[in-house]
Amino acid sequence: MHLSLKSLLREYLRPALMLTLLLTILLGLLYPGVVTALAQLLFPYQANGSLRYADGRLVGSELIGQYWTSPKYFHGRPSATLSNDGSHVQPYNAENSGASNLGPTNKVLVQTVQQRIAELKRENPDAPPGPVPADLVTASGSGLDPDISIAAALYQVPRVAKARGLSQETVRQLVLSHVQGRFLGIFGEPHVNVLDLNLALDALKH
């Protein structure tokens, strides 16, 4: 092999630099540009974040969970997202997604779950006694989980019904009518979208 400087330039350096330049334009700019144009044309709602409005006001994204505290709304899962500077926990910070990363034998995990169970029971005195649904006391992977399990929604029915002066049966039926099943009945898990359910609750009183 003749590794003269000239052949090195001609055979390796020029193709490497030119191909880097041209593929950067193709893959880094043209490709995402074309996808963006088509996405905005064909699926504008989804491409811009599945944003939901109520009475003409932007109230959130269907896909991004929110931090609910009022007893008259269904609550989502615990969230371990941090503030933007990472200094403290700021639940459902959709600018800084993330999980707790607490290991299975971490003391902090065990204590935190214990506290959450106690708090959940205090907030829901009329809920059935006994163990609570796992997803209501564990932090999600994204910290932005928009969904809860059916069990987690049903668990909160007595509290929400009481806070809104509705019958438990009415609220229960509303929950069941908002269950999203598995894809093709097979893939994923049945779940309830919390924002969807809460918007339906608000619509109920009108």
Binding site: M18, L19, L27, Y31, P32, T36, T105, L109, S140
Partner: protein, 578 residues
């Protein structure tokens, strides 16, 4: 039993889909790399010719293994420098609506090494660190070309096996260009739009400000996500647009997107096994490797799925209902999303670590000890369970060589593979390739677990889980996977430098012996199979291959794992916390 009926059905259907995709995709890739016309040629052939002309590439001129390696290295170096430059100057460049500042030098270097080597380890949160321009031009670009590089090298090695009495392994520029234009780009164009239809965002908007019903304020990160999401999976890259990766609802909103992303991760790797069989003229050779991979894939699931569905015994005592039922997924839900539950989370995790992808839809640091051991071991075995695009095939072929060598030792014959005698030089190269990884991983992990700079990063978890975190970091970096036990604070000078080094060694110090191996084989004559030839297609070979992979992996890593995940499992059962 901790596996639900639905789990069985989901897994069986997923494997059936992978099987169904293997042959058609493998046939198509064979045509692409043989330089034949495909049904996409009318669209992409003019572009392909333009690229060759503009870059001064003669597509008909093939390279020896040395030329192939130099081209690969020079090209990857150029891309790595470009990415580093972009990260450092993004504050002055367009498409930065959040006015993010420059990426710190060490972090920028770690990230440049990470994306060049197809690792996509991330010591940063994407939505807090990278401008839209850096994501697209810097990171997504590397997602394409690191994948195409891997595919090109695998094809070169296969040519080394398929050709005889020859000198050349192909032309790197042509293989790279064709992999990009005919395989990656078209699938991404379609796949990205399907993802958008399900809710993956694709815009250049500033982050959305929302006043919630409950009186709160929420700022929601946006971006050109779908175009990057699909190549992140298809190229087995794994670097998330957002910090939460594929757990983020804007990256992976539904069970359908989850299924598409898993298929994207594994399909090219699986199809490359078929392509290999096709190129060497005996598809059974490819199916034998495929079968070995499928067995190992199912083994991993059989350990991880019951562990996760069984939940965490320390939490069960507290009154946390982890029973699966029609109303809830149950199990160990810390770090997992409700829409995926246990089955789709574990299936994704096994898929992403069987290959070299590293995207995650659930957070591995919070897995049960045995549930977390499976992804760790999958990567440590060399990501040969279908594997990364390209890297899976060349890794699996090294194990196949080792298997015929061991079988040859047992009967006292010179081993041969595909009619080529495997002699001292080839076995040395294969052994070298297979030894570099454990030496790097265990060496760095040993240093990190005694140095204060290494231990200082154990800010979230300690005890045996801390050792698991350190082992995972180097295993994932060296294996170019990129998934993490993310509780370890990796963005420190110590981990940025050593992690980047592990990634570069894992990629390039592995590739060079492999191409040297290909270069040595391509010149050999083919010896006709005789009565003493060990057949490399039947169940005997497949079982032996699976055995060799597991034994090499177990002998190498078991002592370290015994002190990490295994002891943690036993202590968890005994009720200990740290």
């Amino acid at each position: 039993m901790f596996i639900t009926f639905n789990s069985f059905v989901q897994i069986a259907l997923f494997l059936a889909l992978v099987l169904a995709l293997t042959k058609p995709l493998g046939l198509y890739m064979t045509r692409v790399f043989n330089g034949e016309r495909t049904w996409l040629s009318p669209v992409f052939a003019p572009l392909e010719r333009f690229l060759y002309r503009a870059c001064g590439i003669d597509p008909a001129r093939e390279q020896r293994w040395t030329g192939y390696v130099i081209a690969m290295l020079v090209f990857n170096l150029a891309g790595m420098l470009l990415l580093y430059g972009l990260e450092r100057t993004q504050q002055w460049l367009p498409l930065n609506p959040q006015h993010l500042g420059p990426v710190e030098p060490q972090l920028a270097f770690n990230t440049a090494a990470s994306f060049t080597t197809n690792t996509n380890w991330q010591n940063y949160a994407g939505e807090q660190t990278m401008s839209y321009l850096t994501q697209m031009v810097g990171l997504a670009y590397h997602n394409f070309i690191s994948a195409a590089t891997g595919m090109a090298l695998a094809v070169a090695l296969v040519r080394g096996l398929a050709r005889h009495s020859a000198e050349h392994l192909g032309n790197f520029w042509v293989d790279l260009t064709r992999a990009t234009l005919y395989i990656l780009l078209p699938i991404c164009l379609v796949g990205a739009l399907v993802l958008v239809s399900q809710g993956v965002v694709q815009n250049f908007n500033p982050y959305t400000v929302v006043h919630t019903l409950d009186g709160g304020l929420q700022v929601i990160a946006q971006g050109p996500v779908a175009s990057q999401e699909i190549i992140k999976e298809l190229g087995t890259n794994g670097g998330g647009f957002f910090n939460a990766n594929s757990a983020h609802p804007y990256e992976n909103p539904t069970a359908l997107t989850n299924l598409i992303e898993m298929l994207a991760i594994i399909s090219i790797g699986a199809a490359m096994f078929y392509m290999f069989g096709r190129m060497v003229g005996d598809t059974r050779q490819g199916w034998a490797l495929w079968a070995a991979a499928a067995i190992l894939f199912v083994l991993g699931l059989a350990v991880a799925l019951p562990a996760e569905q069984g939940g965490n015994p320390l939490l069960a005592h507290l009154g946390d209902n982890q029973q699966a039922s029609a109303l809830q997924p149950g199990g160990n839900m810390e770090g997992k999303e409700v829409r995926f539950g246990i089955t789709d989370s574990v299936l994704f995790t096994v898929t992403t670590t069987a290959t070299s992808c590293g995207a995650v839809n659930s957070f591995l640091d919070s897995y049960t000890p045995l549930g977390g051991l499976v992804p760790l071991a999958n990567i440590a075995l060399g990501e040969v369970i279908f594997g990364g695009v390209g890297s899976g095939l060349y890794g699996m072929l090294m194990f196949a060589i080792l298997t015929v060598f061991i079988a040859g030792l047992m009967v006292g014959r010179t081993p041969e593979y595909l009619g080529k005698k495997i002699e001292r030089k080839e076995v040395m190269m294969a052994a070298l390739a297979l030894l570099i990884s454990p030496a790097t991983v265990l060496g760095f992990a040993a240093v990190a677990s005694v140095l204060p700079q290494g231990l200082a990063s154990l800010t979230t978890n300690t005890g045996p889980h801390g050792l698991s975190e350190i082992l995972y970091l180097y295993t994932s970096s060296n294996g170019n996977n990129g998934s993490a036990f993310a509780g370890l604070a990796g963005n420190t000078p110590f981990y940025n430098w050593t992690g980047a080094l592990a990634m570069l060694i894992g990629r390039f110090a592995f590739l060079i012996p492999i191409l040297a191996f290909g270069g040595s084989l391509v010149g050999k004559r083919v010896v006709p199979a005789g009565p003493g030839t060990f057949p490399t297609t039947g169940p005997l070979f497949v079982s032996l291959l699976v055995g060799v992979i597991l034994i090499v992996g177990a002998l190498t890593y078991f002592p370290a794992y015994a002190l990490g995940p295994i002891v943690e499992h036993l202590l968890m059962l005994a009720g200990r916390t740290f």
